[in-house]
Symmetry: C2
Subunit: 296 residues, 2 copies
């Protein structure tokens, strides 16, 4: 897979005990396939991979792979605190039908650059699948510098990076990273609120939370940006602004679970200790979704 | 148990696959018992609880409880990402012989105060054991305000707090917290480099990393502070300063594993991705330990 375009990240429906509802997951994945997203990012942060046991993660990958039947590339999060744990998850994902791996440097004891390099090298060699570096400081508490990404980009199998929203200018961030990595190494962004500008600045991929729930509008935005239509890209981005504000206030996971419930796509909640949004925030999510529907 | 005095936190020896070496652990715990520490903090951050599977954590508690035979109170870390997981660990620990629980708000998705409150309330009611709040922002990425600690202190079973080194004045931190919590609620500190001053300022407990490896000197310091002998407390603290500098530079876990290896107390390494210290840092650990031995 080449990682380009819209990579849509669905939630992973599971019961209160952490058992994945594979039928519900298959329906969510099927919606994304029908919308023709470029890839699906299963078991990302919004897909609560960190909260699911190894066997449940294997079941989720198998269910998604079966639902897709190879029609859309499947990128699977294999992050774990232990290196041997992440290697085992990588092999499980490969066997269950993943097309690529997404690896975050999940930490408890803060990690050094040398530790993260070795962790990634070791997990990358566990399978033949391409691996995307998941740079997500707000959850992993490790920040990749451009120099470390450049070193990892030389490791066989490490083919892409998923970047967070930068503190500064997004176009400068894309340019700095592009200059640091080899040709053909894919650069993508998450933090949906910066992704329209990231794509316009030449990023390859939008690793999209909203794309996991509202694939049509995310695809329209992606295609407009890929065609260089800045006005249409920004028009769509502006309509999504109320959702971006909610993501930043409450985190993507809480908002996406509320949105999926409001749209009748799931009855499951996020895993405790994460609590459902209160009535006021839930109403704001409903209004933001309504505004997006108004685009069509 | 009343949590007062020196709570010594040993490493948890385990093989590369994460299997706890219960014989090695029993020997480490026995050393602490012989030294007559006030309590033992098993499966703290330095005890790599976050990296060990539920069954291994249960084995570790059972081995430590058997080695102690009730002679020293056993405080056990039961932190987990999921609330149901932490409840299960709490019940396991109680059944395997723990005297108290230590609960950190381990996070992936950043948690709100309401989520942490509910998580703690729910875990506290899972057993009859007293529970200590483990406030460790550098690993959990959640910081307890005094107001939240005060609310939790009203929950039945929540009996103590383990605080990190504050950014500002330690005596002011102790005083602020003391004013916020009910009488009898124990206030203790970790971040070994502030703990001499914390005890002198009236903190009840030193939750000590170094105490897990060098219980004699940690006890001498604790007893001097409890007796109000500031000069002797500070003299001992100064002799430990090279170790404090290493803790701050490399993290307590990496330094304690190197120290235990240098002292012939274990042959096991920390779990990957955590790497052993390099030769230069290891030499510095050896020198710091030598300086501490010179105290005796």
């Amino acid at each position: 897979m080449d990682f380009a375009g819209l990579s849509a990240f669905p939630i992973t429906p599971a019961d209160a005990a952490g058992r994945v509802d594979t039928e519900n997951l298959a329906r969510l994945v099927d919606r994304l396939m029908v919308a023709r997203v470029d890839s699906i990012g299963l078991l990302g942060s919004t897909g609560t991979y960190a909260y699911l046991a190894r066997e449940e993660r294997r079941r989720a990958v198998a269910a998604a792979a079966e639902a897709l039947g190879g029609a859309v590339p499947l990128l699977v999060g294999v992050g774990a605190l232990r290196t041997d744990g992440a290697r085992a998850l990588a092999r499980d994902a490969a066997e269950a039908g993943a097309d690529a791996l997404l690896l975050a440097p999940v930490s408890y004891t803060p990690l050094t650059d040398a530790e993260v390099f070795e962790h990634f090298r070791t997990v990358a060699e566990a399978t033949d699948l391409p691996l995307c570096i998941y740079n997500n400081p707000s959850t992993t508490h490790f920040t990749f510098g451009a120099e470390l990404i450049a070193r990892l980009a030389e490791v066989p199998g490490i083919a892409a990076v998923k970047m967070p929203a930068p503190a500064g200018d997004i176009a400068a961030d894309v340019a700095k990273l592009r200059a640091a990595v080899p040709e053909g190494f894919a650069i993508g962004y998450s933090g949906d609120w910066v992704c329209a500008e990231a794509l316009l600045a030449g990023a390859d991929t939008w690793f999209s939370v909203v794309g996991g729930l509202l694939p049509e509008v995310a695809l329209r935005l992606t295609r407009a940006a890929q065609a260089g239509d800045a006005a249409e890209t920004r028009r769509l981005d502006a309509r999504l602004a109320p959702l971006w504000a909610l993501f930043r206030a409450h985190g993507g996971l809480r908002v996406m679970v509320a949105g999926a419930q409001l749209m009748g796509l799931t009855a499951h909640a996020a895993p405790r200790p994460i609590l459902p949004l209160g009535p006021e925030a839930t109403r704001a999510v409903a209004e933001a979704l309504e505004q997006v529907r108004g685009i069509a």
